[in-house]
Symmetry: C2
Subunit: 169 residues, 2 copies
Amino acid sequence: MAERGTAPSGGENLLFLTDEQLRKGIEAMFFAYRGFTADPDRILESHSYGRAHHRAIHFINRAPGTTVNNLLAILGVTKQSLNRVLRTLIEDGLVESRVGARDKRERHLYLTEAGQALERELSEAQRSRMRAAYRAAGPAAVAGFRQVLEAMMDAEQRRQFNAMSEGGS
Amino acid sequence: MAERGTAPSGGENLLFLTDEQLRKGIEAMFFAYRGFTADPDRILESHSYGRAHHRAIHFINRAPGTTVNNLLAILGVTKQSLNRVLRTLIEDGLVESRVGARDKRERHLYLTEAGQALERELSEAQRSRMRAAYRAAGPAAVAGFRQVLEAMMDAEQRRQFNAMSEGGS
DNA sequence: ATTTTATGTCAGCCTTGTTGACTTTCCAAG
DNA sequence: CTTGGAAAGTCAACAAGGCTGACATAAAAT
């Protein structure tokens, strides 16, 4: 279990695993997520949209031409739930839905000019906060941040997260 | 704009601030938060409760005897919204509401035995995932994780977060 | 005595999750 | 070629949990 070397080293190195430290991590996650969504939430409210719309816009932007089914897997909601959001985005002219060329059951999703504009507005707000946090914490902290977040995901989520980076760009 | 010194040093140190890196951080936050809430969500569902109940239980446990108003400030919801949740928790015998001794307008909230049992079940599930993530990432990463999360909060949230630690224990 | 504060409640709305039922399309087995 | 199942998407209806607004009560503060 514990290393034999200098007596305190084992105990001290595990201080970050005490229940108290874990609780602080849990609460930090709770409050930080609120900050994380605060800026987009304000923008969305002024457009009468919610977080669900933001998520759809974000991932359509990331993978233009993605199908509804694909988006479903990423967002982890039911297709009926997603459909409602997509319908309003399409009606409002932010998203375009094209019938698949090979498989006509599929709908391929694209952001229109207006959709891209809103996406930029939302993501710039979110990046701006993230940039400030990264800058304040420094590169080493950012590396740790990313490591812990990735370790916190379910295996399936981690797979999606990593797949996202490969396909991107 | 760019520093004049050794050409690559400034640029390399700022690699973590590129839009691409920021986007990855944003998506990591999204997927990690899902993992973060997945275990409690499963437990809550089996009790017919939601995240709103979890949040109330968590913070009542953290500060036994806290008032409704206090909880409202921490949770950032309306009293009507919180009241609905508290009412069911009190009806179900998980939370006890005592009229204040000094100020009889206030209600002081406490977890009952049953409430504490559910709290332990929920928080142990959450700590368990956090512990695994911390262990996988190591102490240095955890320190960075906490730094970035704290920098991501609004000033008000950070104040609450830090106040939480002082009062605790 | 009056006003303010803390809490609770009712009614009604919105977003976003859910399930169930349905249509259209594709594909593969007969 | 037809037919039956699977897959993609849509529509309808419901529930949880946010929200606002209006109002009631009791206690504290002025």
